[in-house]
Symmetry: C2
Subunit: 614 residues, 2 copies
């Protein structure tokens, strides 16, 4: 099944239908504020007690606060792409992080963004802050519907030099309207704030949509001095993280003040949310953010990775100082905003639903079911039940068992901490959610973890030597794993796969005695989001004595040119009745990430679990 | 031989003898300006045509320019440590780079620095700029003889946020007098310049010594806008590199202006030099600097790594606008300065010599012989002859042959480009320089590359499987290399060593039939500068059938707790007449860098070349 082709077919968009807003009423302005790596409870009104966020709280007081608001991905780029398109990340064409290298493409341009929707409806459209969903002229903000843009295109920057340090050359990354601009020494928070205030000042007579993507409190932790001083008694890294959150809060406060000062606040919808859970990466000192009672963090499909603070505030029309506990999603903003701005028709393929009835009439969530697919994992939420396939918790605060927890079932009403796996207790619920998941457009049977396969074959437990070493992180039980009969799951780091970074696998198997062989098969996984690709080919030579080998026979592997799809294949090479004791099997890596992939030129990974001889 | 202990014994210092400067004459001030990663010819007066350095050139016009000036190491910390102590890096106790992590020690405090010498002679002493020779209170500038200090302690910073991004957490690194200070947004070049100018203003009536260690043009390439604009037609990375060099030149110009304005220039000795050759690291876009006609770059013992621009200017006393072609070294500044400042007695162990007779009387170099030892390599210069052991050229512009070029002989008068190895043509010269090198205090026979050993043993060419994979960069020919009879050289990246980052080597050898075994030996290398350590122990178990193994026998390895010394050992475990076909050999890594090492807590490497069975 090629889901990508299917999705592309369904979602092919030809534009957005005409607007039908009442002519006699001034259209509301819309500002979507996104914060970066802000933890699930890192706002006072969400539970944080050791940091101060009066302005985020003010938004909650003048609006609706969601307590079960989710992002469609626990990672940066797909979360942003889904918000911008109202589609799931796979449908939006960006299931994994975009490259931060100039010249790398990101979200495909045939997807219709909220900026394009708003622009067509007569709105001025502005992007301010972080982008990270494409770094080519076509996929940068001006190519995706924004008529103004100021910010950085990669995943993170130093806030004073605007340099990107994550990998490769230390390089500058600051852009205004598609042109590189230098503002060395000026704090990026202040620059964004000034640009936003200027933009509002200049758009008092014309409705505008502003995507204000604040790159904080993402590392590097660079709060304003005032707040660093304020939190000086907290321990690191919470100290700098809290100070950074309050710095963001100040910037949001300045924006609200400007709107109030210009008497525009009542007619401006402000949406506020974090892009996903807090980070526990080493770059941020292992994490200063908090998910409170929730398990997990950034990269995880436990609540701590996907349940985020989210508020909508429109004092001129919506209820104030209220909470909603219904499930809601970042892909719902596009249809919600469209409805409130009088836009009747949505782009084809939008999967979100307007939250207006939840917000204004306290009706039930428009979603009974929601699906996530991120990296190796996936999840289904159905009512209070949630099933996670291949769960992970990079916070390392909790342990998972790869044998028992491949499918992890919880009931969030009974236990929102997700610490106990109910899968064995409610097998019929597992079955139901599994089937729901399989019926979802982006799911395939391969996504469902089953008991791992055991393969019985002629080289089981025989001697194997490898010329090219697997990476220390993905070495299973060494070369012997290749013939131990144990296959890997769809989770490449499950400990059953041997992973090779940039190099081939060349294995020599000694079966101990001469055997009659008809098939040599190699198990391989492709997970292009993680730069793992099927081999280019496999090649087999055989020998009776381990010295004189036959001419090698090669089997090409059809490439799977899909950034989003993950797949396991057992690549089989048939030969009639070989008589051999020794087999030399070469599994050829592409070496470099292929050109169709956004990571092109980087080191390609090759993963193999078993070489089976029949 | 434990050279470190020997050196420490010889160099133990009890202080500096009293001063004997004429009381009726005002002592000169001294400013040592060090630039960072500036290439051998990247000053106009050294040959650069595409960048502009009027102020560095002005120093040459008002002073003496050296054309064969060397640093004692092609890497940052040891180069700085040697300049500061007048000793070779091994004697100074810092043969490799110091850690950039707060709390890591660096140059031992019992070494006497030039700041301590000057302070004892009545000078005010200031450090401004980069430090990178220790990050504990005792090894930071105030602990090493400076009574004022402003700058960063690690290897590099962002010049606007003063954050360190090289590894680990993204962290702030700016200090004044041992206390962390925040000057976010202010350009570090301007901050240094202002601190230096203020210091001069405040020390008009008291002689001072200033170590002005400019952290540029080291990456990140962050020139001033004016210069980026000036060079806009050059290609990257030369464009930003050249702009950065001119930015540095401006800062030096401001310092000269300040001295002139205060009428202090004539009585101020200014010394200018780069810390080593230009960098070709990916962080700096693969390199914008130039060694001109010379081979090599930073990290290399070819001229491009160690021959640097160097000028001394003291208009009140020394000749002006002259060149000196004699060999001179950064360890010579301490005795030269001491002489010019009337300090009669030097700290014990100083290996440099005053250059006064070269400078003022054009006498021959005080050095007939000079030795370098850096990472895996070493070099001897004797007159025009130079012999390099284990040469390397990380610029990747030239190729070396590991079999033929292990010893690389040149005559710099005949060929300063070092492109042709004369070793086979002049074997007696090789022999002579080798012996000179062996007589040098820090050299040992193990430093001399010989034809690699071949070991004949019972497992030669037999089957071997390994559980833990070597790193992809150091995998030799895979597991089979462990029993191929080929041993490694002292150059751990020679292709004969298997390197393991943080993990153990567990190898199972199948000799094909039962053998009588009396000894199992494991060849291992320690190169602590590169975080490579001998194993903690080796352990052997044996089996007749590959299933039932004996109780393992362990042999502990005596650790070599020396940061500077490199050594190869063949660790042998004797057992009487084992009858076995299968051997399981565990070579235990420390996993983490041990506590006595400045990199403590980092991943320790383990390197093994051969497991020999006798």
């Amino acid at each position: 099944m090629n889901h990508s082709v299917l999705s592309a077919g369904l979602l092919l968009c030809t534009g957005v239908a005409a607007v039908a807003a009442p002519a006699n009423k001034k259209k509301p302005n819309v500002i979507v504020i996104l914060t970066d790596d802000q933890g699930s409870i890192d706002v006072n009104c969400y539970g944080a007690k050791d940091l101060t966020t009066p302005n985020m709280d003010k938004l909650a007081k003048t609006g609706i606060k969601f307590t079960q608001f989710y992002v469609a991905a626990p990672v940066c780029s797909p979360s942003r792409a889904s918000m911008l398109t109202g589609m799931n990340p796979h449908a939006a064409g960006l299931p994994g992080n975009a490259s931060s290298q100039e010249g790398s493409s990101g979200m495909p341009t045939d997807r219709v963004t909220i900026a394009e929707v708003m622009k067509q409806a007569g709105y001025a459209t502005a992007h301010i802050g972080k982008w990270h969903v494409g770094y080519t002229p076509e996929t940068m903000p001006l190519g995706q519907g924004f008529d103004y843009s100021f910010g950085h295109m990669g995943g993170c920057i130093d806030n004073y030099s605007h340099f990107f340090y994550w990998n490769g050359p230390n390089r500058h990354d600051l852009w205004e309207n598609g042109k590189e601009v230098y503002r060395e020494g000026e704090y990026f928070g202040d620059l964004m704030e000034q640009k936003a205030k200027d933009y509002i000042e200049n758009h008092q007579d014309e409705p505008f949509f502003m995507y204000y993507a604040i790159n904080m409190p993402h590392y590097p932790l660079q709060p304003k001095a005032k707040w660093r001083e304020h939190y000086k008694d907290l321990d690191m890294p919470r100290r700098d993280y809290a100070a950074f959150v309050s710095t963001v809060d100040d910037h949001i406060g300045q924006l609200i003040n400007k709107l109030e000062e210009l008497k525009m606040r009542d007619n401006t919808i402000i949406i506020f949310q974090s892009d996903h859970g807090h980070s526990t990466e080493v770059r941020t000192f292992g994490g200063g953010g908090s998910a409170g009672p929730f398990r997990g963090c950034k990269f995880s499909l436990f609540e701590g990775g996907i349940r985020v603070p989210a508020i909508i505030s429109w004092p001129g029309r919506l209820p104030q100082n209220e909470e909603r506990h219904q499930m809601a999603f970042n892909i719902d903003w596009l249809p919600t905003i469209a409805e409130y701005c009088g836009i009747k028709e949505l782009p084809e393929g939008v999967e979100g639903h307007s939250l207006s009835r939840v917000i204004e009439k306290k009706k039930e969530s428009p979603h009974q079911l929601f699906f996530w697919k991120s990296g190796p994992g996936w999840a289904v939420r159905k009512g209070d039940w949630k099933l996670i396939g291949y769960p992970q918790d990079p916070s390392n605060e909790t342990k998972l068992d790869f044998d028992k927890d491949l499918l992890f079932l919880v009931n969030l009403k009974m236990d929102s901490t997700e610490m106990t796996n109910l899968a064995t207790q409610y097998p019929e619920k597992v079955e139901e959610l599994k089937n729901d998941y399989l019926n979802w457009e982006y799911a395939s049977p391969e996504d469902i973890p089953t008991k791992r396969l055991q393969i019985k074959h002629k080289a089981n437990g025989k001697k194997v030597t490898i010329e090219s070493a697997p990476h220390a992180k993905y070495k299973a039980n060494g070369a012997a794993s290749l013939v131990d009969g144990e296959t890997g799951t769809r989770f490449f780091s499950d400990g059953f796969w041997l992973g090779f970074e940039g190099n081939d696998l060349v294995a020599t198997i000694d079966m101990g005695k001469t055997e009659v062989i008809n098939e040599i098969s190699v198990g391989s996984i492709q997970d292009a989001e993680s730069w793992i690709f099927f081999p280019e080919y496999i090649e087999v030579a055989w020998s009776a004595d381990g010295k004189q080998y036959s001419k090698p026979v090669r089997k090409m592997v059809e490439p799977l040119k899909s950034a989003g799809q993950k797949s396991i294949r057992r690549i089989a090479l048939q030969q009639e009745d070989i008589n051999a004791r020794f087999l030399k099997v070469t599994v050829k890596s592409y070496g470099k990430v292929p050109v169709w992939h956004s990571g092109k030129g980087g080191k390609a990974w090759l993963f193999v679990d078993e070489i089976a001889i029949q």
